[in-house]
C-alpha cells in the first residue's frame, strides 16, 4: 500500500504492508534509528515521536495511519539549518536536548529520544508546569536508570527558560 508522509520536513513515499507499525517504517524503511523500540505495547514510550506536533507512541500507530501526516523524530528536533536555509554543519540542539545534557538527564540513554520527544510535546501543551505536572505529564515514558529526578529538572529548566 502506498503511503506518503512528511518526516522531519522531507516527504517520503513508500510501499508498506498495512500491518507495518510506524516505528518499524521509520527505523527499517527510512533508516531513522533514533526512535527506539522498548515494550512494543504502548507502555514505555521509548518509541515516542510527534505526529502533527503531538506526542504519539509509534509502536501503536500503523504506518498507513500516518499517511499524509507530519512526523517528527528525534533526528528532526535539532536544527541544522541557518535562517537562510544553508547548513551550519553543526547541530544546533533543541533546548530540550541541551537541557538533558546540562542536567545529566540520562544514563544508558535508551529512553532518551522518546523522553525528549514527550517532554517537548508536554511543554507545548503546558508551558508553565509545576514539578508534579511534569511528573504526571511524563507518566507514559519509563526510565529505568535515572529515577526521573534529573529528567524532571531538565524539563523544569526549559520551562523556566521559556517563561
Amino acid at each position: 500500500m502506498d503511503v506518503s508522509m512528511t518526516v522531519n520536513g522531507s516527504t517520503h513515499s513508500s510501499d508498506v504492508e498495512p500491518r507495518t507499525l510506524l516505528v518499524h517504517h521509520l527505523r527499517d524503511g527510512l533508516g531513522l534509528t533514533g526512535t527506539n523500540i522498548g515494550c512494543d505495547s504502548s507502555s514505555c514510550g521509548a518509541c515516542t515521536v510527534h505526529m502533527n506536533g503531538e506526542s504519539v507512541k509509534s509502536c501503536t500507530v500503523l504506518a498507513v495511519q500516518a499517511d499524509g501526516q507530519d512526523i517528527t523524530t528525534i533526528e528532526g528536533l535539532a536544527d541544522t539549518a541557518r535562517a537562510d536555509g544553508s547548513s551550519t554543519g553543526d547541530m544546533d540542539w533543541h533546548p530540550m536536548q541541551e537541557a538533558f545534557q546540562q542536567c545529566h538527564a540520562l544514563q544508558c540513554g535508551y529512553c532518551t529520544p522518546g523522553m525528549v520527544m514527550a517532554s517537548v510535546s508536554f511543554l507545548k501543551e503546558n508551558p508553565n508546569p509545576t514539578e508534579a505536572q511534569i511528573r504526571e505529564g511524563l507518566e507514559g515514558n519509563l526510565c529505568r536508570c535515572t529515577g526521573y529526578h534529573n529528567i524532571v529538572k531538565a524539563v523544569e529548566s526549559v520551562a523556566g527558560g521559556a517563561s
Binding site: 498495512p18 504502548s42 507502555s43 514510550g45 507512541k57 510535546s121 507518566e139
Partner: protein
C-alpha cells in the same frame, strides 16, 4: 511484535464505513485511534482481516452544547475532552476522567467513540458516561438510533452495537452537580484495579472493573435516594457485582475497594 496481516481501507464518511462493514461482515473492524485495537491485534486477541479507518473523519470530532446536553462526536480524542472549555463549564466530570486515561501520548490518539465501542469494563470513560446517564448514538444502514448507556454494554468487550453499526455521537447531560471519580491503581498509567464514578451527587454511581461491563451500583444509588447515609449506601456498592480476579486483586479485595472508593467518592461529591 506486529499484527497478523489485514487489508486497510480509509472510510470517507460514516456512511461509507457502514457500507464497508456491511460488505465485509464480521471480518472487519473499525479503526479509530487504535490504542485498544492495535495492541489486541498484536497479541492475536483480535484478528480482523479488514480494518476500516474512521479515525480521519474530522466531521465526527466536536464537543458542543445541544439543548441541555453536550453532544460529542465519536472521533473526539481524549486530549480534546481534557482541554475542552465546554466540558470544563458544563460537564467537568467527563473532562476530569478523560485526563486520567492512559498517558498524554495515548490521549492524543484514543477516541471517546472508540473506547465505548471497545467496551472494556476496566476503562475509565465508559463508566463515566454510564454514571452520567449518557446516550450513545449509533448509525447503521437503516439510520440512527439512540442507546441509553445503561443498555449499551453486554459483556467483556461486547455491546449491543450490530456488526454494521458505528457510534457517531455520545450525548451526556450538562451538569456540574456533585461529582467525583476515584481511580485506584498502583502504578502510573495503569488501568484502574477498581474505579468509582459519582455523578449528580450520587444519583449516578458506576463501577470500573467490577464485572464484565461497567456497571451501576444500583443498590447504593437506591439507598442514597431513600435517605440512607453515605456510609450505609457505600456499604452496598459491591452488591450484585462479579469482580474479576487477577494478579492485582482477588474478588473480595475488589469488593472492599468498591465500598471504600464509593464512600470516598460520595463524600467528595457532596463535600
Amino acid at each position: 511484535m506486529i499484527p497478523a496481516a489485514f487489508d486497510y481501507t480509509v472510510a470517507e464518511s460514516a456512511d461509507h464505513a457502514i457500507q464497508l462493514l456491511g460488505e465485509y461482515g464480521d471480518e472487519a473492524k473499525l479503526l479509530a485511534g487504535g490504542h485498544s485495537l492495535i495492541p489486541m491485534m498484536k497479541y492475536r486477541l483480535a484478528t480482523p482481516t479488514q480494518l476500516i479507518d474512521v479515525g480521519r473523519l474530522d466531521d465526527l470530532s466536536y464537543i458542543r452544547r445541544d439543548n441541555g446536553h453536550i453532544a460529542i462526536g465519536a472521533m473526539t480524542k481524549h486530549a480534546q475532552l481534557e482541554t475542552s472549555d465546554v466540558l470544563a463549564a458544563d460537564c467537568p466530570m467527563l473532562q476530569h476522567v478523560a485526563a486520567l486515561v492512559g498517558d498524554p501520548s495515548v490521549r492524543h490518539r484514543g477516541t471517546l467513540g472508540g473506547t465505548l465501542a471497545h467496551s472494556d469494563p476496566a476503562s475509565d470513560l465508559p463508566a463515566a458516561v454510564l454514571a452520567l446517564g449518557g446516550t450513545i448514538v449509533a448509525k447503521g444502514p437503516n439510520g440512527q438510533r439512540e442507546i441509553a448507556s445503561s443498555e449499551f454494554f453486554t459483556g467483556y468487550f461486547e455491546s449491543v452495537l450490530a456488526e454494521d453499526e458505528m457510534i457517531v455521537e455520545v450525548k451526556v447531560p450538562a451538569g456540574t452537580a456533585g461529582w467525583n471519580y476515584q481511580k485506584f491503581n498502583r502504578r502510573a498509567q495503569d488501568w484502574a484495579i477498581v474505579g468509582v464514578a459519582v455523578a449528580d451527587g450520587g444519583a449516578g454511581i458506576s463501577l470500573v472493573n467490577m464485572g464484565s461491563t461497567p456497571i451501576r451500583a444500583t443498590a447504593a444509588e437506591e439507598a442514597l435516594a431513600g435517605g440512607a447515609s453515605i456510609a450505609d449506601a457505600a456499604a452496598l456498592a459491591a452488591q450484585d457485582t462479579d469482580p474479576p480476579e487477577d494478579l492485582n486483586a482477588d474478588g473480595e479485595y475488589r469488593a472492599h475497594l468498591a465500598r471504600v472508593l464509593t464512600q470516598r467518592a460520595l463524600e467528595a461529591a457532596n463535600g
